[in-house]
């Protein structure tokens, strides 16, 4: 839990404020477009072209390539939007969460009270 959004000072937390939202606007706009099946298909067909079309910068593109959800968060991605990207590439919420925590999915699930309630 070393990293955080310094304006807020809550460990392990990147508060989605206007500054971060502005930073990540291209990401979130791209992710939002993936609501439509035809756009998901276009993304899958050519990820690089799709990212360029939405104006992601190099850091953001790299985070998408690596499916690095923590980095994407730090760069202004908002989970409620990038869940659409995650679904497109086959990642689920708890997989994302485990990765953000730096744990395996199995280790993360062991920290839950009733892991059957998914």
């Amino acid at each position: 839990m070393s990293e955080q959004n310094d304006r807020w000072g809550i460990p392990g937390t990147y508060v989605f404020d206007l500054q971060l939202s502005r930073r990540g606007y291209a990401i979130n706009r791209m992710c939002n477009s993936l609501k439509l099946e035809e756009n998901r298909a276009a993304f899958v067909a050519d990820e690089e072209a799709y990212m360029s079309r939405y104006g992601l910068d190099d850091e953001q593109k790299q985070a998408v390539r690596e499916r690095d959800w923590l980095r994407l968060t730090q760069l202004g991605g908002n989970l409620f939007f990038f869940l659409k990207l995650a679904a497109t590439v086959g990642h689920g919420l708890y997989q994302i969460g485990a990765q953000m925590r730096g744990e395996s999915y199995e280790t993360f699930m062991k920290t839950r009270q009733v892991p059957g309630a998914v």
Binding site: M1, S2, E3, Q4, W8, G9, I10, P11, G12, T13, Y14, V15, F16, D17, L18, S21, Y25, N28, R29, C31, N32, K35, L70, T73, N78, L79, F80, F81, L83, K84, A87, L93, Y94, I96, G97, A98, M100, R101, G102, F108, T111, R112, Q113, V114, P115, G116, A117, V118
Partner: protein
């Protein structure tokens, strides 16, 4: 005159919707949850008999994008569709609106200096959907109540303050009580309790804080309304900050309330609760 006949706080979690649709009511992991809502559902059906529900919720990247993000948005339509959040539309009937009440609320709340965005079209995601079938029985194509959706920005800071939300609830009550028709109105505040879906602290839950919230929202709502977002998010998780929506519901009730039912369960990543209150 319309009156507020129930105030309900209820979490909204997508997995609850999936469990409901997949009929997991008797699945060991889910039974406690469905059993926990049952007494409230019965109370609403047998005693409260509301005509309309004003449901306070937030959208989760479904209908509202960051190009134009409202602080408060009120539905003023005759009906509201169930949104597709990317996994297909849930098999729930669309919701009949109570447009006359919506228009009245819009006029009153604007006159009371709340700067609403007014929506003639609005599809509803799990922020709205989760609580509805747990609280009201529906058949294949209708609901026993009409609805008025009231959206709050809890996604992109600056959010409205807890105090502003509480004041909105108080104004809502004045507006409801100035509606000429006899209507029984339930107000539902959704969201929370503690959870975080963000950063290295993903999965954070604070059960102690949640249980305190369930007491204080009854007896000390004004103290809760004074908390800063930073205080709430530190204690309840970044996404737990959405509990401010309960303050809208609480503001619409009388200063003293009676608890009808309370339930709490934290199986996975969210402190899930339902709290039913009535005016004294």
């Amino acid at each position: 005159m319309a009156t507020v006949v129930a105030g309900i706080g209820s979490s909204h979690v997508p997995s609850i919707g999936r469990a409901y649709d997949q009929k997991k009511q008797n699945d060991p992991a889910w039974k406690p949850l469905f059993d926990g809502y049952e007494p409230v559902k019965r109370w609403l059906a047998e005693e409260v008999k509301a005509d309309v529900v004003i449901l306070v919720y937030n959208d989760h990247g479904t209908e509202f994008f960051l190009d134009r993000y409202p602080t408060f948005a009120l539905g003023v339509a005759d009906s509201y569709r169930v949104a597709d959040e990317g996994y297909g539309r849930r098999p729930l009937p669309d919701f009949p609106g109570h447009a006359d009440l919506s228009v009245h609320l819009a006029n009153q709340l604007l006159a009371d200096e709340f700067d609403l965005t007014l929506c003639q079209e609005m599809e509803l995601d799990h922020g709205f959907l989760t609580a509805m079938p747990l609280l009201w029985s529906h058949d294949d194509d209708d609901w026993p109540v009409k609805v008025v959706p009231l959206l709050v920005n809890v996604i992109q800071h600056p959010l409205p303050s807890g105090k502003r939300c509480y004041k909105l609830g108080q104004a809502l009550r004045r507006a409801i009580e100035s509606f000429p028709e006899d209507l029984r109105v339930a107000v539902v505040g959704t969201g929370g309790l503690s959870h975080q879906l963000n950063g290295e602290r993903f999965g954070f839950i604070n059960e102690e804080w949640d249980r305190q919230w369930l007491r204080d929202i009854q007896d000390k709502p004004e103290a809760l309304a004074e908390l800063s977002h930073q205080e709430v998010m530190t204690a309840a998780g970044a996404e737990g900050g959405e509990v401010i929506m309960w303050l809208v519901m609480r503001g619409a009730l009388t200063p003293q309330v009676r608890e009808v039912h309370q339930f709490y369960y934290a199986p996975m990543t969210t402190g899930i609760s339902v709290l039913a209150l009535e005016n004294t």
